[in-house]
């Protein structure tokens, strides 16, 4: 893969559109802007069509002869099945309100990254094949035929959308471009056209329960190393349970936090918090993934991968489910799980055993977001906190797209951070809450080979971070998403070097005063506390 250009070069974004019209400008596959193609073994595992060795850079994508028929049939099936999709294909008036709201357009200047035009790539084929005006008037009615070149354009640009839905916030019709991308990706998957960064984790999840492919003994082993560190730091030995029948709560979190820094510190935060509360909970080595890369593939696969969460809750006989810090995981849990795999009538409406709070908002899914759970603990004064331990940090909060726009979690993480840190600063109001800018790597685009795309997509978020770094000396970006924790460190190193990235529960655990703990001299990362503790 090509080397990513330097920030000063990349930040000179050229917004001049090509001289030719968009239908006459085929996609040019630029190195660093796309991910490797799905490997046959992963498609075979998932029982997906057309497993073969291929590269998006090849001229011949090794498609079945009737690939057009497959796609058009697939399109028709989805238009019939999903009313929203049909509406989104019909109602856009091309007002352009969305055009400059996409992080990929802002960072690349490529007009096909305007949400309106990205959708138009699919809409034009819809018109050409399914509307009378389009069939008769063709290009005049914004219609076109499905050619090989169009197919390649779909692949290139629908894997340059992170399904973040920022554009939808600004659309007067509320067109959900993420749903359009999801449909386009479903269609591409009918021909075996996925990226391996998505089909790899999805295959792992299908076979082993989580994206990384962590075996049960690996999960336990990884957590044991974290527990050793916790003991070194706090003097407290924690013994969590795994796959324990009869536990009150099943805890499910993205597997990234069980493997990669800085997510591992977030996982240590969960372990410490639950121990301090004496929570009757269990980890599962079967439902060992909260995230769902199936969701970046097709609804059918997302449903398949999601089904293990309720299945495990039922098998273990828990009362309700608590979920960790993850982004797209919550879009699936909050908006799809109950419909796909519910009703979970064997579970109870979640009730905090510590505060007695009943989470009415989760009464259908029976699954509570940990930010809500912890904010409630703090509100009821159930945690002893020493925010001074986080005094070396000046923190800002990045709203993860899916928890923000997908379920409206705005206040809880902020409330937690303000209680565990003394220095909190908001980024510009147009870049947070429902208008938050994506990390630029969501929806399975957090690979290594598409680094230029990721840096371009991360530019608007990084710009807002840079602003608070310069204004207030912010040095830590908190978030509640595992893809954020995996993706943002690279984006910050590139655009705003010196700014760290953390999960919210790492901050909680650092401030948490635990019963019987020894005087802490380091934080969870093993960095000295600089004598901050106990000082005014």
């Amino acid at each position: 893969m090509s080397k990513t250009p330097k920030p000063d070069e990349l930040s000179k974004v050229d917004y001049t559109p090509p001289k030719t019209g968009w239908m006459d400008t085929p996609a040019e596959f630029k190195q660093g802007m796309w991910c490797y193609g799905s490997k046959p073994k992963n498609l075979e595992t998932l029982e997906f069509p057309n497993p073969r060795q291929w590269s998006p850079a090849d001229e011949d994508w090794k498609l079945p002869e009737n690939w057009q028929e497959i796609l058009l049939n697939g399109l028709k099936e989805r238009l019939d099945k999903y009313r929203s999709f049909k509406v989104f294909m019909d109602i856009c008036v091309r007002c352009g309100a969305c055009a400059d709201k996409c992080h990929f357009f802002i960072g690349s200047g490529d007009p096909k990254n305007m949400p309106v035009l990205r959708a138009e790539l699919l809409r034009s084929v819809y018109r050409g094949n399914f509307t009378t005006a389009g069939k008769i008037l063709g290009k005049l009615a914004g219609a076109r035929k499905l050619t090989y070149s169009v197919l390649k354009e779909w692949w290139y640009y629908f894997f340059q959308c992170t399904e973040c839905r920022r554009c939808s916030v600004f659309c007067p019709y509320g067109i959900d471009t993420a749903e359009i991308t999801m449909m386009a990706r479903e269609l591409l998957n009918l021909l075996g056209l996925n990226t391996d960064w998505i089909s790899g984790p999805a295959a792992n999840c299908y076979m082993k329960g989580n994206h990384l492919g962590l075996e049960p003994h690996t999960i336990v082993g990884n957590l044991e190393y974290m527990l050793d560190d916790i003991e070194t730091i706090t003097g407290i030995k924690i013994k969590p349970s795994f796959n324990r029948k009869g536990a009150e709560i099943l805890f499910v979190t993205p597997s990234g936090d069980l493997f990669a820094d800085p997510g591992t510190y977030t996982a240590m935060g969960y372990l410490m918090l639950f121990h301090e509360l004496g929570l009757d909970y269990t980890w599962s080595t079967y439902a060992s993934e909260g995230g769902n890369f199936g969701f970046f593939t097709s609804n059918e696969l997302a449903k398949r991968l999601n089904s293990k969460i309720y299945a495990e809750a039922k098998r273990l006989g828990v009362k309700w489910i608590l979920g960790g810090e993850c982004g797209h995981m919550w879009r699936v849990l909050n908006q799809y799980m109950d419909m796909w795999n519910g009703p979970a009538d064997f579970l109870l409406v979640p009730k905090s055993p510590v505060t007695g709070t009943v989470f009415e908002n989760a009464k259908s899914t029976k699954m509570v977001h940990i930010a809500e759970f912890t904010a409630d603990l703090i509100k009821h004064g159930k945690l002893k906190l020493d925010p001074k331990r986080n005094d070396h940090l000046k923190v800002t909060f990045h709203d993860s797209c899916n928890t923000a726009r997908g379920m409206g979690i705005f206040e809880e993480p902020r409330y937690i951070i303000k209680n565990v840190c003394n220095h909190f600063y908001e980024m510009d109001e147009h870049t947070i809450r429902e208008k938050t800018f994506c990390c630029g790597s969501g929806s399975g685009l957090n690979a290594g080979e598409n680094m230029e795309l990721r840096m371009r997509g991360g530019l608007p978020r990084a710009n807002a971070v840079k602003d608070v770094v310069e204004k207030y000396g912010v040095n830590m970006l908190a978030n509640i998403c595992a893809i954020d924790r995996a993706a943002l460190p690279a984006i910050l190193d590139y655009w705003v070097p010196g700014t760290g990235c953390t999960g919210v529960h790492e901050l909680v655990a650092n401030a948490l005063v635990m019963k019987g703990e020894k005087e802490r001299t380091t934080n969870l990362r093993g960095e000295p506390l600089n004598g901050m503790e106990g000082q005014e």
């Binding site: 060795q53 960064w197 560190d229 597997s255 924790r485």
Partner: protein, 111 residues
């Protein structure tokens, strides 16, 4: 599929040169991969590679960095149990470069 030629044999590798099947690995191949990167493998490099291979046999995944650091520290002394030491050995990152020489696949997901 890309291949790597070594001593008259052809090895399937992915786009970034990771061996497709970790069981096709041999020590000579690791040395050859390193040479192509302009690196001579020393005993210190081998300590890491051997640990990675042993770990992978047991767990079917590369160890998380925390484990690698701790275990190297345990077996080779605390002065080596840190990421700085590992990055000196493997400038492109122990998770990537050392895993590639050890014939292990690259972890994927939220990492």
């Amino acid at each position: 599929m890309a291949t790597l030629e070594f001593e008259g044999k052809s090895y399937d590798v992915d786009e970034e040169g990771y061996l497709s099947d970790w069981q096709n690995w041999n020590e000579g191949l690791a040395g050859h991969m390193a040479k192509l990167d302009g690196l001579d493998l020393t005993q210190a490099h081998w300590d890491v590679i051997r640990f990675l291979r042993d770990y992978f046999q047991k767990y079917q995944i590369a160890p998380m960095i925390k484990i690698l650091v701790k275990e190297i520290g345990k077996s080779l002394g605390p002065e080596k149990g840190n990421t700085k030491y590992l990055y000196e050995l493997y400038p492109a990152g122990p998770a990537k470069q050392a895993c590639r020489y050890a014939g292990l696949p690259k972890p994927t997901g939220c990492v």
